[in-house]
């Protein structure tokens, strides 16, 4: 049933008892034309666009837990496209443009809110870096503007622009089209739309092995719900990509780190935008429910523990309290961690591998949520046609051999 004003009204009078399940939970078939590993936002989006734009109906998404239960449900939901290099600008801007029409496309409210993303500069290096980003973005038509501290406070009134603090704000870059979206709704919306197009979403179905034929090409997946035959596998497993790819003897240029986030108790609206400070590791926005959503940094060491060191979170809260003195007496309600897969150049890997039929979409590191629709869209093209989408073409695994890195790590000087 579509979400519409008429149906809403009809259900309101019928006691809301007629809403059907949002997606099917079928038993696995013996074989599929293609299988996506990982039912997070990226994997579900890929399946949706494979069904919608490439006519693949006999496909499945396998998920070891529940859909949207990994990093999709754990991130701080920041959307923006103000990256430095042209390859990244094309990829993230492609995603941002899809965000703009996503609720209509999916017939599901993903609560996309272009409220503006303010990135704070605290020193000369930041100023030079952000101004370089502003100019690079302007040249390709992506909005990004430079603000003086007073202008930044006018945009975000709770910001402390006193010059008498440890890391004073000396300016900020603002992308007005950036903002937030509701993370769960993105997973649910894609799952619902993909399921309606015939995609089987198989939850509690953990991949245990990748079977290959005599020629080395993939022939199927061993899972906790039995063997599934398929000629095409698209791995979209975020922090566990190295583990899944290891089943096909493919080694990846990835390291997995815990990344933490926190939410405060809910309060009335005090914050109209997203504020990020890469330099002192503090990211904050306010959800529609009223809680402040705060992002922290990664731990220093690789881990799959889905938790992180307390000192990492408290370091971020130090910064938050200094930047936003008004929140100092708020209590934190929850703190959690997700495992992010980080590449050496902090850019994702989308494409083919040396194993025929095995495709991978990974390496989104600490900032994959913003790319969800774009990532899924270009990965769907890559898996369906067997060749990279033009936007995804530079993001090959092979770039680590050729040296054509897309170095957003050096561009931003920190993970982001």
């Amino acid at each position: 049933m579509r979400f519409s004003f008429v149906n809403l009204l009809r259900q309101a009078f019928a006691g809301n008892k007629g809403w059907p399940e949002q997606w099917r939970s079928p038993e696995p078939k013996a074989s599929y034309d293609a299988v996506i590993v990982g039912a997070g936002g990226h994997g579900l989006a890929a399946a949706y666009y494979m069904a919608k734009e490439h006519g693949l109906k006999n496909i499945a998404v396998v998920e070891k837990g529940w859909l949207g239960g990994g990093n999709t449900g754990r991130n701080t939901t920041i959307l923006r496209s103000n990256y430095l290099w042209e390859e990244s600008e094309a990829l993230y801007e492609h995603a941002l443009q899809l965000w703009e029409g996503l609720s209509q496309d999916l017939n599901y409210n993903v609560m996309y809110s272009p409220r503006g993303v303010l990135m704070l500069a605290h020193n000369t290096h930041d100023v030079q870096t952000f101004k370089r980003h502003v100019h690079a973005n302007r040249l390709v038509g992506i909005d990004n503007e430079w603000l003086a501290p007073e202008q930044a406070r006018a945009f975000c009134p709770i910001l402390n622009i006193s010059q008498n603090i440890r890391y004073p704000i000396v300016g900020a870059a603002l992308q007005r089209r950036g903002g937030t979206a509701r993370h769960d709704a993105v997973a649910w919306g894609y799952a619902r739309a993909a399921s309606a197009l015939g995609v089987d979403i198989l939850q509690n179905c953990e991949v245990k092995g990748i079977r290959r034929d005599a020629g080395g090409a993939v022939s199927g997946l061993e899972t906790t719900r039995g063997f599934i035959a398929t000629k095409k596998i698209g791995v979209s497993a975020a922090g566990h990509t190295s583990v899944v790819m290891g089943m096909a003897d493919v080694r990846m240029p990835l390291e997995s780190y815990p990344l933490q986030a926190l939410v405060s108790e809910p309060v009335k609206p005090i914050m109209p935008c997203v504020v990020m400070s890469n330099t002192i590791h503090a990211y904050m926005s306010q959800s529609d429910k009223g809680d402040l959503v705060i992002g922290a940094g990664t731990d220093a060491y690789t881990s799959y523990s889905q938790t992180g060191g307390l000192h990492i979170a408290s370091h971020t809260l130090d910064a938050i309290c200094e930047l936003f003195p008004v929140v100092r007496r708020l209590r934190m309600m929850r703190n959690w961690g997700g495992i992010v897969d980080v590449t050496p150049d902090r850019s994702p890997i989308i494409g083919k591998t040396a194993v025929p039929g095995l495709f991978v979409n990974c390496g989104w590191g600490t900032g994959g949520f913003k790319a969800t629709p774009g990532s899924g869209h270009v990965f769907a093209h890559t898996v369906a046609t067997g060749e990279p989408h033009p936007i995804a073409a530079p993001f090959t695994l092979d770039r680590f051999r050729t040296g054509r890195l897309i170095d957003e790590a050096a561009a931003a000087a920190v993970a982001h």
Binding site: R251, M252, A300, L310
Partner: protein, 94 residues
């Protein structure tokens, strides 16, 4: 926060005294000029990223300043052993 035993200082110290330095036992090719691009990329970028017991390097930056190796379970973050650079990886204990 991890508590890490520096095998040189022979003391257990909080993680903040140390700096993580990536996977251990990744040997730099002896003669870089003869190494293919593929092998060079493997040396520079490709890592085991093991879920489970993992050998990694740490540096005691706020102590003796020396590099050493550490055997840690990346699921529980429990450290099984730390050992000096150049020593072989110890056997896993359960």
């Amino acid at each position: 926060m991890l508590l890490i035993r520096c095998p040189y200082c022979e003391m257990e110290r909080p993680e903040l005294e140390f700096r993580h330095a990536g996977e251990a036992h990744v040997a730099r090719p002896a003669d870089p000029e003869t190494v293919s691009d593929e092998d060079w990329a493997k040396f520079l970028y490709f890592r085991a990223n093991t879920k489970g017991l993992y050998a990694e390097r740490w540096r005691h930056t706020h102590g003796c300043g020396r590099f050493f190796n550490c055997l840690r379970d990346t699921v529980s973050d429990k450290i099984q052993a730390t050992y000096k650079a150049g020593e072989p990886r110890p056997e896993a204990t359960r």
